[in-house]
Symmetry: C2
Subunit: 503 residues, 2 copies
């Protein structure tokens, strides 16, 4: 007896609902696409997320070569709609970069970007670009002790095994995923060689390389791939040469020269080191902003003074917390790799600590608020301005607003959300209000600025509206309000800016 | 029965030996100096070290006002010679900056820079600039557990009390010393008010401010005071105004505008935060360079690739360790202040940890070397290239070479030292050889590059000499050697570069 549950996948872009086919084959579709492009090299992009879907677009619009591009993702509720959407003429990523639509229309016209879920596509590929996610499993943000984590490579290994089961013996597999250092050399290459051996094929022609992207969703989405510096390496000399040859066809290497490193451990390390550096610099400021509060010091004025030194321009500011896909996990990938792939008995303790400190920032911001309501926060009406983790962009991946929201919710607050760039908060499955004026018709116990969007900065009309309300608290968690704005709000409100002790 | 031991003070600049007078009075000298400059404001600089002696010079060469400057230091063996030297026409600081001699000759001609040891000078001062040291007591570098430290404010308090015992009731006391945040407000001002009260004087006219210098001994010594951004604050409004007025007369504020912060806690914090940030960024790289070695990665190539990003230009490189007067202690001053002056139960844990990690860097560098000689390092002949902590400058204060040297010495090595910028290593009371050619006539078991002086970089003649020797080891602790140089040395030597695993 089998239960046939029909699985569906819904597009958050169009609202359209797709039935996921029971038959997971698409040989016909792929063959038909390939037939359209005979003579062209085939590039398969594995993973149609924030990086892969746009990387596919960039390859379909390559600078010096015409490629046939196939994007591959899994036929799951979370991903199947992306496949259908690409094939139906609706790009699955909403972004403020106009080049996205331009590049997509161009690909539609050339019919050279096809999407599928069938691993059969790998058998046609000359180049396979790996852009799948590799996640870290952390303790839930609802838990105040946030120090535990785990790295489970199973999904990543499966994805590589799927390639190995189909790929040509001389394919180039270019890993772009941010991986634990050592992965290309110690995991990807051995898995592919094992699969080729099983298939009775030689293993000396396969090429495996790593190059890391620095994709920034936002107004320069395409440029962050095509017009930016790339670092790459191969697991052997011919792999490195193949990676370089491929990258030169898609990236503006005349203006942004490629950097080749000695081995893939080095490129993999460079990416996670880069992000760990940034995460650590934020964590560093957390302690100091607490100290500033204790000493009646405005940390923003101190940091601005320090930034006058050219050598200290990059000192970070405190805030609600750290979000996004990279800074929140890359230091942990590195530390995990050090112990699990290179057998060190030491972790990257400081870098791990940095992530844990950052993860606790929204909890600290919440604790401060809670301390103001000694009886209870229950039933308090709270308006959060911003759910994205990044200013002026609608990206909610690992946003620190989530932990803040969760704690308010656990305390029984009535929470209202605004974000001009986020209609639907995917991770929480909540619709976000975009009508700030409408929201401000209402009254709140606390108005919290949680993202530094332009809409909340130097917005006189917004300030005027808040000033004329009987709200008890205005809580700026990221230093958006100017001294003058604070003074004017203080006539009727209690104003608190995190990290500013002397208000 | 009293023993009269004659105390002397020897100038390391001229070799001249001065007898320290038993009578610690200099009223006549001071009065005579003041008489020469009637009508001029008197500025007393307290402390004639690396900062104070040159600050005195800058004030004596003020831009928009003629000051009579008195430098004050203690009549101790370590400091008395500076007083005599200034009055005898030999500036007590050797520096490559030609402006030092220019400014000094100008002051000699105007006879407006006098030095003394008598606190009576404070009674004549309109402005007193505090430039004395405030040290942190750490565990000895010879001890491998370097986590303990203490801050003893006694000498600093005594210096402020000496001012309070003599100063005019409306003097401006401008603290430039790097102090624990809170010092101007919680220590300096109360001590001065107490002293004035004891003397039957009002306390409402005294002005106390803080402004931090960023003096860099070296080729731009004077400019690092006169042509650089200053941050300042006062303990009250009139103090802040007085500080600003004074600084405008000595600093090129048209090109380097002053920044006034809300209170002296903020300026004091800015200075130690700035240095903690840098110390922390170095400590961060320590772990990663260990990881790089384990993974066969060249950390220098990785860091250079990361620096291509404008936001990551300031990422630091690993090395032998961290030296100098600031980065080695300022994070500890801050952490101490947080707990001892602001009553926090939390220290600045990350910043403290950064200092401890940095302090252990030379020990790690030594441990690596020791591991290569499993039997013993005893009797090994070792040449250290560089004792200064800074490239191309002769500054040995808290140089990391010291801990490295100490460990070699404890193991019974025969150590030879070279540094083109250091004749005499004051802290260790050792003379340093400056004849590199002569030193290389000899043979060594290990040649260690310990400072990144230009003399050791891309120096073909030096390389040729080393290549032709039968030395067993060339140990580059700071990444001075290029790949090509390493290859050529490897023909006959074992070469190790700290942080480069894939050599």
């Amino acid at each position: 007896m089998t239960t046939s549950t029909l699985q569906v996948s819904k597009s958050p872009v169009t609202g359209k609902v797709y039935e996921i086919p029971a038959d997971k084959k698409d040989k016909e579709g792929i063959d038909a696409f390939i037939a359209l492009h005979s003579g062209k090299k085939v590039v398969v992009v594995q993973g149609l997320g924030f990086v892969g879907s746009v990387m596919g677009l960039v390859v379909a619009n390559a600078l010096t070569e015409e490629y046939a591009v196939i994007g591959i993702d899994l036929p799951t509720p979370g991903s199947y709609w992306k496949i259908r959407s690409i094939n139906e003429g609706v790009f699955p990523v909403i972004a403020s970069d106009p080049k996205i639509e331009l590049y997509y229309q161009n690909a539609l016209q050339k019919k050279n970007y096809y999407a599928s879920f069938d691993a059969y596509a790998y058998s046609k590929a000359d180049v396979i670009v790996v852009d799948i996610n590799l996640d870290v499993q952390k303790k839930s943000a609802k838990n105040k002790d946030l120090e535990g984590y785990d790295v489970d490579l199973t999904p990543f290994r499966k994805a590589i095994e799927a390639i190995g089961a189909y790929c040509k013996e001389d394919v180039l597999v270019l890993v772009e995923t941010t991986v634990p250092p050592g992965t290309a050399q110690k995991i990807v290459r051995p898995l592919l060689e094992e699969a080729l051996t099983k298939r009775g094929l030689p293993v000396d022609k396969i090429k495996v390389g790593h190059s890391y992207e620095r994709v920034m969703p936002g107004p320069k989405y395409i440029d962050s791939i095509q017009n930016f510096y790339r670092v790459f390496a191969g697991t052997d000399e011919k792999s490195a040469v193949a990676v370089e040859t491929f990258l030169r066809t898609v990236i503006r290497t005349d203006e942004y020269p490629l950097t080749r490193l000695g081995n893939t451990n080095a490129t993999e390390m460079a990416k996670v080191l880069e992000n760990s550096y940034r995460a650590m610099n934020i964590a560093f400021m957390v302690e100091w902003s607490r100290f500033a509060e204790e000493a009646g010091v405005d940390i923003y004025e101190v940091v601005n003074a320090i930034r006058m030194r050219p050598t200290h321009k990059n000192i970070m500011l405190p805030g609600l917390g750290v979000g996004g896909y990279c800074l929140t996990k890359d230091p942990l990938l590195a530390s995990w790799a050090r112990m699990n792939l290179f057998g060190s008995t030491e972790k990257l303790g400081q870098s791990e600590k940095g992530v844990h400190i950052n993860d606790k920032m929204p909890v600290y911001a919440f604790d401060f608020l809670q301390a103001q309501y000694k009886d209870s926060l229950e039933g308090k009406k709270v308006l959060l301005l911003g759910v994205s983790y990044l200013n002026d962009v609608g990206d909610t991946r690992y946003t620190p607003v989530e932990a803040f929201y969760d704690h308010l919710e656990m305390e029984g607050c009535a929470i209202h959300l605004h974000d001009p760039h986020v209609k639907y908060w995917e991770e929480k499955d909540i619709w976000v209000n975009q009508d700030l004026d409408g929201l401000l018709e209402d009254e709140y116990d606390v108005i919290v600025i949680t993202t530094g969007h332009k809409d909340y900065r130097s917005n006189a009309a917004l300030l005027e509206k808040i000033k004329n309300k009987p709200a008890a608290w205005v809580y700026d968690t990221i230093g958006v309000l100017s001294n003058e704005e604070i003074r004017s709000l203080k006539e009727r409100h209690v104003v608190k800016v995190l990290g500013r002790g002397d208000l």
